[in-house]
């Protein structure tokens, strides 16, 4: 199991487009992937789950992956946050 904390850096927070990107990327992995914000846990493959976190700019999110490709999964999803989902 791998975990890593990331910060929401893009201006508008996790609105539809970033949520869609995260869930689409997450679906490419075998591992079970979770996102946690303030103790609230959602499936990273669920766009509705991610949307329901309502994470705004500055929120801290913990990514946890468990499975055969957990390292790559965390790496790639963390990178999305880092690059602000190519927004600005």
């Amino acid at each position: 199991m791998i975990r890593r904390d990331v910060i929401v850096k893009n201006e508008q927070g996790l609105h539809a487009r970033p949520c869609r990107i995260i869930s689409q990327v997450a679906m490419n992995f075998q591992s079970e992937i979770k996102l946690i914000k303030d103790g609230y846990e959602v499936n990273a493959k669920s766009i509705m789950g991610i949307l329901s976190m309502a994470a705004s700019k500055g929120s801290v999110i913990t990514i946890i992956a468990n499975g055969s490709d957990e390292r790559e999964a965390v790496e790639e999803i963390a990178n999305l946050f880092e690059t602000k989902f190519d927004e600005e």
């Binding site: 609105h15 539809a16 487009r17 869609r20 869930s23 689409q24 679906m27 499936n43 493959k45 669920s46 766009i47 509705m48 789950g49 949307l51 329901s52 309502a54």
Partner: protein, 579 residues
């Protein structure tokens, strides 16, 4: 009278009667299933999911075609909700583990998500919440196979009032010619409802909160989307004010400019090729701004008129180059000059006497083949101006095959000459002819073997076919574009061309007449070409039509012997436009 404010989409005014789309409350019962039925239940659920997904794809293709990629992404968010593990896995998990029916499992799971959304007050998320509700409703509709589809049953012009519109409702609205505007309780500027309204170009006011609770069915209503407002049960004075406002708006620049940016598609999303007719080279800028599909007819007579010499090859090259490079990728059809006897005597052909019947006389290709140098100069100039353009050449007044064969031979000579001089040109310039004489129409199958395209000149075709001189006051009332003979000959031309895999355009006046355009499209004409001045009007007209209905109309009018009945049938098709 009550005035309500909301979010207006499009600038427009609609005046009509309300039609309330009842929000069918979904009552989901819990059923516990026997173990052996679980497999079927999961299959039933999966079937409903794939049906819903297909419907979304349909919506997406509509949006994509009319509004472009950026907007279709919003629909993608919808399909992502459908693919969400919560819907694909968790619901199935619940069906299997708790042995409950799919409707119940789905509504429970959706309820859970929505609870989480409740705490969020941001408008953006409220919109997403509505999308999730829409999708789940849609799935349940597909599970229960309950197709309300009331919109299809509307048969008079209405202003549709609803709580919220599902994508499938919106498709039905776009297919129904009778919905002249709509108002909803929910919806924001970025909702799919807004996008669809934009695409259809009809006035809509969204986010009205409680309009469905305030209005009753069949009440007078004014929708003024430019003012973000609706007026329920207006006073007669208010009604008069808005009838005037509506007339002014139709003429206003804002309105026409908006139409300019919209694609030429029918309400049900069928793209219609709409081109312009130009008869000079001085309106090029206006043409470029019009966002048309090209020039369907560039008349060249102006080059020969009001002068006493023939335009030189170089002079013509300059004019054609200017036209052709204005929109190099769009098709531009240059018609060789259709000049008659009276116009030629000025430029040095003294042996021509005045004719008693010039319409049946020495004009068009007849004259140019008698003086082949004129034709040669013109075609050579077009070839010299043709490089990296989408030029087409069209011959007027063709009555037999031999004329086309002679023109082909002249073109071959010109090409050889240009090769010899090492002048580069576009190799494969399509050659077409005007079909404007009944004899050409009746042998159009032979003609099509020699040309790349045809264009129907309805003005001349109708007057030759009916033997009616339009300027003769004693018979001009017999000039009738809806005469069964006209419809038959048009049908013959179009169907023959399509059998040979070739396109037909129409550049006559019939194309810019509202009823005429309906007839032409219903008979399957591929492109209309209209005067620049009328372009936006015709485009607006096309955007109000329903293509599916038109093709049906085509067979109906071909079986009608009375032209006044034909007109009645067509008028029925456009009833909503004048209401």
């Amino acid at each position: 009278m009550i005035v309500k404010r909301g979010i207006g989409i499009n600038v427009g005014i609609a005046i009509g009667k309300t039609f309330i789309l009842e929000d069918d409350a979904v009552i989901v019962e819990k059923k516990v299933l026997p173990r052996e039925k679980i497999k079927d239940e999961v299959a039933r659920y999966k079937m409903a999911l794939s049906k819903t997904s297909q419907e979304l794809e349909l919506v997406k293709s509509h949006v994509l075609e009319a509004l472009g990629r950026q907007h279709a992404k919003l629909i993608d968010a919808h399909s992502m909700i459908l693919k969400d593990p919560l819907i694909t896995k968790d619901v199935i998990g619940m069906i299997v583990n708790e042995r409950v029916n799919a409707e119940y499992a789905l509504s429970k799971k959706i309820e859970e998500v929505l609870k989480k959304f409740e705490k969020i007050t941001d408008t953006f998320f409220i919109e997403r919440k509505n999308e999730i509700i829409d999708i789940s409703k849609k799935i349940i509709q597909n599970l229960t196979n309950k197709k309300p589809n009331i919109i299809n049953q509307i048969n008079k012009p209405v202003v549709l009032v609803a709580n919220n519109l599902l994508p499938s409702d919106l498709i039905n609205i776009s297919k129904s010619p009778y919905v002249i505007a709509f108002c909803t309780n929910l919806g924001s500027k970025t909702s799919h409802t807004a996008l669809f309204a934009q695409n259809m170009g009809i006035p809509a006011v969204l986010g009205l909160g409680d309009i469905t609770k305030i209005v009753k069915n069949d009440t007078n209503i004014i929708v003024s989307s430019g003012e973000n407002s609706v007026i329920i049960d207006p006073t007669p004075e208010m009604m008069d004010v808005y009838i005037k406002k509506k007339e002014q708006l139709a003429k206003s620049e804002i309105y026409l400019n908006r139409i300019k940016k919209l694609p030429t598609v029918t309400r049900d999303g069928r793209k219609i090729t709409l081109m312009v007719n130009l008869d000079r080279d001085d309106s090029i800028d206006e043409y470029k701004n019009m966002n048309s599909d090209g020039i369907g007819l560039f008349r060249t007579e102006f080059l020969y008129l009001n002068r006493d010499s023939i335009p030189s090859e170089d002079e013509q090259v300059n004019v054609y180059r200017k036209i052709l490079t204005s929109t190099p990728s769009l098709p531009i059809v240059i018609r060789t000059a259709d000049i008659g006897a009276d116009k030629v005597s000025n430029i040095g052909f003294k042996d021509i006497i005045s004719e008693t019947n010039p319409f049946m006389g020495f004009r068009g290709i007849r004259l140019f083949l008698r003086y082949p140098d004129l034709l040669k100069t013109q075609i050579k100039a077009i070839y010299r101006a043709s490089l990296d353009t989408n030029v087409h050449i069209m011959i007027p007044m063709v009555t037999n095959l031999d004329e086309i064969i002679q023109v082909r031979a002249i073109i071959d000579d010109i090409k050889k000459e240009l090769y010899a001089k090492r002048i580069t040109f576009k190799e494969d310039i399509p050659l077409g002819v005007m079909i404007e004489v009944p004899s050409a129409a009746l042998i159009v199958d032979y003609i099509l073997d020699y040309v790349d395209f045809i264009s129907i000149g309805t003005n001349d075709l109708i007057q030759y076919l009916l033997a009616v001189d339009r300027v003769n006051q004693y018979v001009s009332n017999m000039y009738d574009p809806f005469h069964p003979a006209v419809l038959r000959i048009l049908n013959l031309i179009v169907s023959t061309a399509h059998k040979k895999g070739k396109k037909v355009s129409v550049c006559g006046e019939m194309a810019s007449d509202p009823l005429g355009a309906i007839v032409l499209l219903s008979l399957g004409v591929d492109a209309l070409s209209v005067p620049l001045k009328l372009f936006l009007k015709v485009k607006q007209h096309i955007r109000s039509l329903n293509y599916d209905k038109l093709s049906f109309l085509g067979t109906k009018i071909l079986n009608e012997s009375d032209s006044s009945k034909v007109v009645e049938m067509i008028e029925k098709e456009m009833i909503y436009e004048f209401k």
